[in-house]
């Protein structure tokens, strides 16, 4: 009940973020149900149905990532002196965050079910009744157990991930009243060696698989035929590698910015970027991976006629929107955590223009370093596939 009360009083932007989680959850739920209907409609072709189900893992992963970041950013789950004093410490707050996430996920799944039944023609009385009756196998009864399990998948995985990410660790939680300058900064992120290794391995696997026998293939749903399972594995490895390398790359950008006798704007921009590299870097790496995948698909799309099906489009939109929303939410989180320091700077007379310039410099530095990386990965991934 406390979760609901806190939700009711929260800021519209916070509610919007929760709604985003619900929408993403609805999208993934719909994709999962569609793969179920594919299996119903084609009982003989279980490999294709399994492949559709597996492709749902990408939007699911993006949704879980978004849900975790939203739960972490939620002001209601931040340790607060008053609440801690009445016994609502970090442990209970993690439970609270998990409950809010579960509510958002369940809401999304319920919406997905309603929409799905509506398009299928099982619910009547609204426009577009049964508009997609045939592809959604309206002739066959829906197995209730399977549908419920698929619908519970998103709320369950997001809740579990949020609870795990926010659980109180062994180290004591930072005291709420402690000044920001008194807390030790996080160590500079590692992960660049692993990130590089995985990215290169992913590219190598992709190249190798493109030359391998095309008989054993795991094609995309829709008409995106002929890509071996290896190239999918290669992409996954590349994405994980970029996500691992993201924090270190961000830290490097910050280091570059504040090098060589910086003025106030460059100094602040660089140091803040170095400090926030852990928080911002991971989502940034994921965005880079998604962007490079989009570029690769775009290049291949140009070379041959491969129109996407609506479900592939929905999945791609979900992945892109979730990763972008995750990055933006992380940036908002970083900004919130720096609000006290910003206030101090304003008291010193730092103009809003100077602070905006520092923010702009950060964005420019990130773009300058990460755009070539993304482009290079995308081009390298596309080379073997284009032939």
């Amino acid at each position: 009940m406390l979760a609901l009360r806190l939700t009711r009083g929260s800021h519209p932007l916070v509610l919007l973020r929760r709604l985003l989680v619900a929408a993403a959850s609805a999208g993934v739920g719909f994709l999962l149900l569609s793969s179920l209907t594919h299996a119903l409609a084609h009982p003989g072709d279980s490999a294709a149905s399994l492949q559709r189900l597996l492709w749902c893992a990408l939007p699911l992963a993006a949704t879980v990532h978004l849900a975790v970041v939203v739960a972490r950013t939620d002001p209601a789950t931040r340790p607060r002196t008053g609440l801690s004093a009445v016994g609502l410490g970090p442990g209970r707050l993690a439970v609270l965050a998990a409950v809010s996430t579960a509510v958002a996920g369940t809401l999304g799944s319920a919406l997905a079910l309603l929409f799905f039944l509506h398009l299928r023609g099982d619910l009547t009385g609204l426009p577009f009744d049964g508009a997609a009756a045939e592809p959604l196998a309206s002739g066959r009864p829906l197995p209730t157990g399977a549908a419920l399990i698929l619908l519970a998948l998103v709320p369950f995985s997001t809740t579990l991930a949020a609870a795990l990410a926010l659980r109180p660790r062994g180290a004591p939680a930072p005291a709420e009243a402690e000044a920001p300058e008194a807390t030790a900064p996080p160590r500079p992120p590692g992960g660049l060696p692993w990130g590089c290794a995985l990215t290169t391995a992913g590219l190598a696997v992709g190249t190798y698989a493109a030359h391998a026998d095309r008989g054993v293939s795991l094609p995309l749903p829709g008409q995106f035929d002929g890509h071996p399972a290896g190239s999918l594995l290669g992409w996954a490895l590349t994405a994980v590698g970029l996500a691992l390398a993201g924090p270190a790359l961000t830290h490097f950008c910050g280091r570059l910015l504040q090098a060589r006798r910086p003025g106030a704007a460059r100094l602040l921009a660089g140091r803040i970027l170095m400090e926030e590299s852990r928080r911002i870097g991971r989502p940034l790496g994921v965005v880079c991976a998604v962007a490079s995948a989009v570029i690769t698909v775009w290049t291949l799309h140009d070379t041959g006629p491969h129109p996407f099906g609506p479900l592939t489009g929905l999945g791609a939109t979900l992945v892109i929107a979730c990763t972008a929303a995750t990055l933006i939410t992380s940036a908002v989180e970083a900004r919130q955590s720096r609000s006290a320091a910003t206030e101090n700077l304003r008291r010193l007379g730092a103009s809003a223009g100077a602070l905006r310039l520092a923010a702009l410099l950060r964005v420019l530095a990130l773009l300058l370093v990460l755009t070539p990386v993304t482009w290079a990965v995308a081009t390298l991934a596309a080379v073997p596939l284009a032939r």
């Binding site: 000044a179 008194a182 030790a184 900064p185 006798r261 106030a264 602040l268 140091r271 010193l348 103009s351």
Partner: protein, 242 residues
């Protein structure tokens, strides 16, 4: 001793201010002469911080006027007040409120860097002030590696480095032990005297306020020291400003 109004570096005329309905200042008038060290004394909640914020242009009072060197502060736009704070004022708060990402010397040099002073020059000035405050050994460390008194000394260096016209010190020694308190106050007052910096020092501690040239006492947002003098000052200034 009351400085003649024309010599006042900073003057406040019947300031009224309330924080969302709860009154903090109820008609405070005062003048601070150039190079003078004025202590604002009073218990917690007596309006000291609000008075300092109004005088330094961080807050615009609901009613009343603030004049700095013969020009009004209360009518300036937010941008001009920001510039005034950057170029003419220094601020020491009860908490050091350093920027956690910057090293100690960078924190101290921040006002100079914000004014566009070249890097090398700002560093030299910062190291000199840190030397005065006995923390030059920690110049390249981050604030988290320092003790609270060392951080407060860094904040003091930051307030003095640009040699501002006025330094506002809001309970600068509230979180310090006696030895550290003495060092911070000694440096602040010595710098003020040698560079003719005006200091407005808010404190509830009589030991601290005893070091000032003059003391103004606040209680519940009103001056309680010399009501007649305050009234006379207010009247004289009203007639002057007409």
């Amino acid at each position: 001793m009351v400085a003649p109004p024309d010599d006042d570096a900073l003057r406040a005329l019947s300031l009224h201010h309330s924080h969302t309905g709860s009154p903090a200042l109820a008609g405070v008038s005062l003048g601070v002469g150039e190079g003078e060290i004025l202590a604002v004394c009073g218990p917690r909640g007596s309006g000291k911080t609000t008075l300092l914020r109004c005088l330094s242009g961080q807050t615009v009072p609901d009613e009343g006027e603030v004049w700095f060197n013969g020009s009004p502060v209360h009518t300036l736009t937010a941008l001009r007040r920001e510039r005034l704070r950057r170029e003419r004022f220094g601020w020491i708060g009860p908490e050091p409120s350093l920027v956690p990402e910057l090293t100690v010397w960078e924190n101290a040099a921040l006002p100079l860097l914000l004014r566009g002073t070249p890097h090398r020059q700002a560093r030299a000035a910062a190291l000199e002030w840190l030397e005065h405050l006995d923390i030059s050994a920690h110049a390249n460390r981050r604030p988290h590696a320092l003790t609270q008194p060392q951080r407060q000394r860094t904040a003091t260096a930051r307030a003095l480095i640009a040699v501002p016209s006025v330094v506002f010190a809001d309970e600068p020694t509230a979180t310090l032990h006696r030895a550290d308190r003495a060092l911070v106050l000694r440096t602040l007052l010595a710098a003020a005297r040698s560079h003719r910096i005006t200091v407005v020092l808010a404190s509830h501690d009589p030991e601290v306020t005893a070091l000032a040239d003059r003391t103004v006492t606040l209680l519940d947002g009103r001056r309680t020291d010399t009501p007649e003098a305050a009234d006379a000052e207010g009247q004289a200034e009203c007639s002057l400003s007409v």
